[in-house]
């Protein structure tokens, strides 16, 4: 044996020795869409889990925005290289659910893996969104949020409004917006991010108005959109279009790219996700708070309850039993009370279990930080009805784009609010019918 080959041999042996412990571990791929501080949360969770046991190793990977991550998961599934866990935003729920064989339902996986699992331990407003009509949990809630109204207390003082009594109803918001505009917020008295989420999805749930037949799509893919038949929707869209013209309301875009208008102080009232908390805390140089979404007082029973946003963790199909065992253990680890308490109080996302919420409440945490409880109070405001459980439409990503387009057409005066509302429903139904055909096989 030459010296050279001996060196090679020992290098190979060394490499093998180094690789051996890793080979005994089962790797679990976790694709997600969280950036910044939230990405750190994901990495920390994976590290903590990996340190807590020796058999499994969670490997998180950032795959871009929510739609990008969903597309990456779909493409990987088609190529046979899907990850074990895929984080999918709530809009993609219908798409994931309809993919028989592509996903492994969480309740089934937990049972097969022999993990203790009680779906009733989770907050019903959250799990309802991710469960079948029979109450079987399909995906694991992870980062949930809801829509709240953030407001600038300093601006309220400047405009002679009471910063401790934010407007409760839409007419009050309109009045406040006019006063704020007069007080120097010329570009925008109030606004919202996520236009379709704010003015269609949450609006319907909060006022107990159906968006479609079949329990907003939760009872079947043959749901037909019909929210254009509600006079309240028309009233709201008409109000917004008029106020846009008057410069009191100002449209801030389809996604959350306009959220900076709140933190920069340009827009003193902004309806957007409760997940905006981290950003507000870090960037707003004024006194701020949030409140529940406004409602129209004439709507019977309003406010009802809000619906969730954010994302959940889907388990992809076709993996080995041992790998599922690891995923199940990780989900149990995630649901741990103290871990949820920490996640909730640090990131601002909702606690997913009842026990975690109770614990945070009992600790008096919300006395100092009431803004973290607002979305939970909204979600639990009333027992969810068929109109406020959530919604489940296939192709919702595309349908939301259509809805945004029609809202924009109403706001810039291209169409009357009535015509825009009708078109939003009609075009959405076309998408639903196409999805129904491709999903029913």
């Amino acid at each position: 044996m030459t010296v050279k080959s001996r060196i090679l041999m020992s290098v190979a042996a060394f490499a093998l020795a180094g690789a051996a412990p890793a080979a005994a571990q089962t790797e679990i791929q976790w694709w997600h869409a969280l950036t910044g501080a939230n990405n750190d949360v994901v990495v920390k969770l994976a590290e903590d889990f990996n340190a807590s046991q020796k058999d499994y190793k969670i490997v998180p990977a950032y795959k871009g925005s929510y739609p990008d991550t969903l597309n990456a998961g779909i493409a990987a599934f088609r190529a046979g290289t899907a990850p074990h866990i895929l984080q999918v935003f709530e809009v993609g729920t219908g798409t994931m659910m309809s993919a028989k064989g592509a996903v492994k339902p969480v309740h089934e996986m937990m049972k097969e893996a022999g993990e203790a699992f009680d779906p009733k331990a989770y907050l019903p407003a959250i799990t309802g969104y991710y469960s079948t009509a029979k109450g079987e949990m399909l995906s694991m809630p992870f980062n949930s949020s809801s829509m709240v109204m953030w407001y600038n207390k300093d601006a309220f003082k400047k405009a002679g409004l009471n910063p401790d009594a934010p407007p409760k109803t839409w007419p009050e918001v309109f009045e406040a917006g006019k006063k704020l505009k007069a007080a120097g917020f010329e570009k925008c008295g109030f606004t919202n991010a996520w236009a379709p989420w704010a003015n269609i999805e949450q609006f319907g749930a909060w006022h107990n108005i159906p968006l479609s037949t079949k329990v907003n799509g939760m009872d079947g893919f043959d749901a037909v959109l019909n929210f254009n038949q509600s006079p309240l929707f028309l009233k709201h869209w008409t109000n917004l279009a008029e106020l846009q013209k008057a410069g009191v309301y100002d449209y801030s875009g389809r996604t959350n790219t306009g959220e900076g208008r709140f933190t920069s102080g340009e827009c003193p009232i902004m309806l957007t996700s409760s997940g905006f908390f981290g950003n507000v805390k870090a960037n707003a140089k004024f006194d701020w708070a949030n409140a529940a979404m406004p409602y129209y007082p004439e709507a019977a029973g309003a406010p009802q309850n809000s619906i969730i946003g954010g994302a959940s963790l889907w388990v992809m199909g076709g993996k080995k039993a041992d790998e599922y065992k690891g995923v199940a253990k990780f989900f149990t680890f995630l649901s741990d009370v103290d871990r949820q308490v920490k996640l909730h109080t640090e990131s601002g996302y909702l606690p997913i279990t009842k026990a975690a919420y109770e614990k945070v409440k009992a600790s008096g945490f919300y006395k100092d930080k009431p803004y973290l409880e607002t979305p939970i109070l909204e979600l639990n405001n009333k027992e969810p009805t068929d109109n406020s459980k959530g919604l489940r439409y296939g192709s919702l990503v595309q349908i939301r784009d259509i809805w945004s387009e029609e809202m924009e057409a109403a706001l810039n005066g291209q169409k009357t609010p009535k015509a825009a509302l009708d078109a939003a429903v009609e075009r959405g139904n076309q998408m639903l019918r196409q999805f129904e055909r491709s999903a029913s096989r």
């Binding site: 779909i74 192709s395 810039n412 491709s438």
Partner: protein, 293 residues
Amino acid sequence: MQKNAFFNGLTIPLMLLLPQLAITVVFFYWPATQAVWQSFLLQDAFGTSTEFVWFENYQLLFSDPGYLRAFINTAIFSSFVCVLSLSLALLFAVMADRQIRGAEIYKTLLIWPYAVAPAVAGVLWLFMFDPSLGMLARGLSNLGIAWNPRLNGNDAMLLVILAATWKQISYNFLFFLAGLQSIPKSVIEAAVIDGARPMRRFWTIVFPLLSPTTFFLLVVNIVYVFFDTFGIIDTVTGGGPSGATETLVYKVFADGKGGSNLGGSAAQSVVLLVMVIAMTAVQFKFIERRVSY
């Protein structure tokens, strides 16, 4: 002396051609055929159920008013971008071709934007002209000009045209400059001696001699505006407001990637493919006749 090399038989020529042919088939013809095939299918996102639907995707497409609007948007967008980027680049190239101090720096600076990816170019322009963030947008509003590409379709269209043009000027500039520098100085000098003024020299000598370059750039620019600009549109406007900046290629991208509507998106790509083939054929058949090589 023999000028040309000939290979007898078939084996050697085929072997020499094979790598090129293989690449063309695998990377160009195979995906194109796949797109045609996909356009006849109705499939869910995960590909777990597939149905052959003949021409239904095309029927849906042509009954969609949004698709007609995308055609009109594309016509407006592409003609403005082509005309602006070609004429501005020619102007810059003619100016850079003169004997001026620091010409090298000037040229280098003009070529830089080409290194910027379309999506990044879009973000740069968005930063300047976003109604809330943009410095220039603030300037406009201070001047009393109502500028709101978030809701005003014309403003949004203008913004994507500017960004797409800016991105393409460098490339055109580079080719025009190379074309100008290959024109023999003696020809120009002869014209000067004959007393031709600069404008006349340009239109009767320089521009005709540049015609092969111009023709090449025209083809390249049309391909650019048709296929390469979705990154800009995606970052600047996302096709909005209310579809005002949704071009054909952006719709392919948005429906296929964002909406997982693969059949509809494939049908759109096929339509786009046919259109660009037709346009290129027209260019070569009619416009190329005016080109003197």
